[in-house]
């Protein structure tokens, strides 16, 4: 992998102040948590990435910045950045990870890798861009838009391990906003985009039919929670993590527990009809 040549000095150097108790290492990733004005100069307030996902990050310059000291950072452009482990490959997205100053593979991508600058010291070269999209998953359903108010939920950050979107370690959370007219089912892997500093869920292509299986007797005219099943025909299985929906039985018969049903969304409401009764 060749080492690209980039005029670092051409990048805009943004003054910041280190609000963390540790010094910011050279080329370390900084979480931006606000700003303050000192002697008429506005400084970004920088700290070590935490377990609460934010929307703004930066990369420190080549010099170490002691705790409480002032330094310069970069917000955008091709630059050097420190990473933790593994071997960055061209095109990969690397991002901030809770409780560390280095970028981590598959974490919310703020740097697209161009190459390695110094493998021994774990410095990559890449394009820094604002964080615009993350993946998350909530343990509970996220309510749909109500009037003009989005539904909110605490989502756990999911990161790409090369095969799956898995939970970030340490667990990192953010508040997700649902502006669709449909609720986001619990444990649904959801994409979020940064809108006005909010992580807004991108909900599209939702099915209006689900295969469900009752877990309790579902009386005629009653509403109950059912488990969603998925998988190839003949080898369907309950979703994992489990996804459920609340559906209404509008038929004149009670549906026993343990029966497969077809759930259909009509006017935003789920209705079930039994297949085995």
């Amino acid at each position: 992998m060749s080492t690209p040549s980039t005029p670092i000095q051409a990048l805009a150097k943004i003054p910041f102040k280190n609000f963390h108790t540790q010094s910011v290492p050279p080329f370390g990733v900084i979480e931006l948590v606000g700003s303050e004005v000192e002697d008429g100069v506005t400084f970004l307030k920088g700290t070590r990435p935490s377990t609460t996902l934010r929307t703004e990050y930066a990369i420190n310059g080549p010099s170490r910045v002691a705790a409480g000291d002032k330094g310069v950072c970069y917000r955008q452009g091709d630059l050097a950045a420190a990473y933790d482990t593994s071997s960055p490959a061209v095109g990969q997205g690397w991002g901030p990870r809770g409780d560390q100053w280095t970028l981590s593979k598959g974490y919310p991508a703020i740097v697209t890798v161009h190459g390695l600058r110094n493998a021994a010291n774990k410095i990559l070269h890449g394009a820094l861009a604002p964080l615009s999209r993350v993946m998350g998953l909530a343990a509970s359903e996220t309510a749909p838009l109500s009037s003009a108010q989005p539904g909110t939920q605490t989502f756990a950050l999911r990161v790409w391990n090369g095969t799956d979107f898995i939970a970030a370690t340490p667990t990192t959370t953010f508040t997700g906003y649902n502006v669709s007219t449909e609720a986001i089912a619990a444990n649904t892997l959801t994409s979020f985009v940064n809108v006005n500093g909010l992580w807004v869920a991108v909900v599209s292509g939702q099915s209006i039919h689900e295969l469900v299986k009752t877990t309790t007797t579902h009386g005629a005219g009653g509403i109950a929670t059912t488990n969603i099943w998925t998988g190839a025909p003949g080898s369907e299985a309950v979703t994992s993590p489990l996804k459920t929906l609340n559906a209404t039985n509008r038929t004149s018969v009670a549906i026993p527990s343990g029966k497969f049903c077809l759930a259909t969304k009509i006017h935003g409401n789920w209705y079930i009809e039994p297949w085995q009764c």
Partner: protein, 582 residues
């Protein structure tokens, strides 16, 4: 048989009673004084003045009446006037051209590269002048032809250009009796024939020799690798101004040093000093003192300890390069150990070493700083537009880690300076001295030639531990010797003599026979020839005449070089600076 009568004539003169003409060296016309019978009307202007006696007829064509010389008698009739010989025409014409251009490495631009062939011998230069004066049949073969005097003629008067050339080469312009121009060497020429002379006078006039003559060149130029120190601007509390002090002596220097400065903002600095820091810290570098000046030999050898001895420096090197066919000094260069701020945390080089001269080394030196900067020549400062520093962290030279810790860059300014004596502040100049035989105890006569410049170019070892110095002393001495040769002629022992002959003796002027007077009148005719002597009662001596001519030329130049004209000339002149003369 009647004795022969003297005859003189000039167009428009009805009765010319007597005429005397005194011929001398140079480009100024000789004057003939005519005494005539009172005459009311005179319309003559130019024509041939004829003097005759017996079988001899001397003709002076294209003479012109000097109207300011008219004398009238009490009746108002014209009775005396002067005419000047044809050299009055030499006040006109022009010559332009730049010849014998000496490159900055003291080689002659003679068409061996893409540039014009400027090489011309002195005889060729004299020929150009004489042709511009519309002269034909002239003789320049006597001129010394070895040197290559540098000239830059720009609509100059050709006669003055020729005279100046002759002055430099120890020659004189002579208008011979056959109406042809010749260039003769000073003091060299025929002896006067005293056979049949009416009078002969000679005296011993030993020259007033100094003990030596010397050519003083322009201030010596020394190329030096000046080591630079990081400095910064600080307030002068008592004066409210700014001063320059070393970085670590700045009143606002951080207690922990500059290693973690947040370049380029310096927000760690007290607000009232922040502007000074932003402007100067890691941007101002000053020549470090004392400094070794290779080739200089002062009271402390090559070491110079005060900046005033070398300031202002020049913004170029003694080294040269050829570009667009012109060989010129390279601009000053800055190189050393500095953080490149690209790709990694390494510096431009691991240790301070001389940048290779152009054309040497395998590749352009990485250590040369090509970023924007300016030179404050008067203060010996290099001022960078961006902070320039080095990474002092071990990772810069392959150690563990990967970070930048700021420190002053180790920089060198390769430029040229002149050197002043530490006590007198006199500039060091090259002197080429020649002791004169039979000299007195009179002090040395110094001939100043600013265009002859001794230069020194050092070659440092890789660690700056030793140095070899190359100079152009051989070329400089050769040029100085040409001037000394010409000057030495003035101190040759001569025997001034004057011989008076009956009748008109057609004797030509040469380098030794400096003046000849012919007189024709009712009493007859006689000739007076002077060798190694110009009778002051008869004519203005050649030296004085040249002073007058040069002064006239200077006034003309002054009139042409108004500030506006100078500004215009500086934009178009192909020779932006003085070139050495041969």
């Amino acid at each position: 048989m009647n004795p022969p009568q003297g005859l003189a004539s000039f167009p428009g003169i009805q009765n010319l009673l007597a005429a005397t003409i005194s011929l001398g060296h140079g480009i100024s016309p000789s004057v003939a004084s005519l005494t005539i019978a009172p005459q009311q009307n005179f319309s003559g202007e130019t024509g041939t003045l004829q003097l005759g006696f017996a079988e001899t007829l001397l003709e002076f064509p294209d003479c012109r009446v000097d109207y300011s010389s008219f004398q009238r008698n009490s009746s108002g009739d014209l009775c005396r006037l002067s005419v000047v010989d044809r050299r009055w025409q030499w006040r006109y014409g022009q010559i332009s051209g730049t010849y014998n251009v000496w490159r900055d490495n003291f080689s002659l631009q003679s068409g061996d590269d893409d540039g014009a062939d400027t090489e011309r011998t002195p005889q060729q230069l004299a020929t150009l002048c004489l042709e511009a004066m519309n002269e034909t049949g002239f003789d320049v073969s006597d001129m010394p032809n070895e040197s290559r005097p540098s000239v830059e003629w720009d609509y100059d008067l050709p006669a003055e250009a020729l005279a100046t050339l002759c002055d430099e080469l120890g020659c004189r312009v002579v208008l011979q009796l056959d109406n042809r121009v010749a260039i003769r060497r000073v003091s060299e020429g025929a002896a006067l024939d005293t056979t049949g002379a009416l009078e002969w006078g000679a005296l011993v006039n030993p020259p007033e020799r100094p003990q030596a003559i010397a050519v003083i060149g322009g201030p010596n130029r020394y190329q030096v690798d000046f080591k630079l120190e990081a400095v910064g601007l600080d307030h002068v509390q008592s004066q409210g101004g700014e001063t320059i002090v070393p970085l670590n002596e700045l009143s606002y220097a951080p207690t922990s040093g500059w290693s973690s400065a947040d370049l380029p903002y310096f927000h760690q600095i007290d607000a009232k000093y922040k502007n000074l820091a932003q402007r100067s810290v890691f941007r101002y570098y000053r020549i470090q003192m004392p400094v070794e000046i290779p080739g200089y030999d002062g009271p402390s050898g090559s070491q110079v300890s005060r900046r005033e001895q070398i300031l202002p420096i020049e913004d170029e090197q003694v080294d040269v390069a050829t570009e667009n066919g012109q060989t010129a000094n390279l601009p000053a260069a800055v190189f050393g150990v500095w953080y490149r701020d690209v790709d990694d945390v390494t510096n431009s080089s691991e240790s301070l070493a001389p940048a290779p001269p152009p054309g040497e080394g395998d590749s352009p030196a990485e250590s040369i700083y090509h970023g924007p900067r300016s030179l404050d020549l008067a203060r010996g400062l290099v001022i960078f537009e961006e902070p320039v520093y080095q990474n002092t962290h071990s990772s810069a030279s392959g150690g563990s880690g990967y970070e930048v810790v700021l420190g002053p860059a180790e920089l060198v300014l390769r430029a040229t300076c002149r050197v002043r004596d530490p006590e007198t502040l006199a500039l060091a100049r090259h002197t080429r001295t020649r002791t004169l035989a039979g000299a007195s105890s009179a002090p040395t006569r110094y001939l100043r030639h600013e265009e002859i410049v001794l230069t020194h170019r050092p070659s440092y070892s890789s660690s700056y531990s030793s140095v070899d110095v190359a100079s152009n002393v051989d070329e400089v001495d050769a040029k100085a010797d040409a001037f000394l040769d010409a000057a030495e002629q003035e101190y040759e022992t001569r025997t001034p003599e004057t011989v008076r002959y009956a009748g008109l003796s057609p004797i030509d002027l040469d380098g030794a026979i400096e003046r000849i007077s012919y007189h024709v009148g009712p009493e007859g005719a006689f000739t007076v020839a002077s060798r190694h002597d110009e009778p002051p009662r008869v004519a203005v001596p050649h030296k004085s005449r040249r002073r007058i001519e040069r002064l006239a030329d200077f006034e003309d130049v002054k009139a042409r070089t108004t500030p506006r004209n100078l500004a215009r000339a500086s934009k178009v002149s192909p020779q932006a600076k003085l070139r050495p003369r041969a």
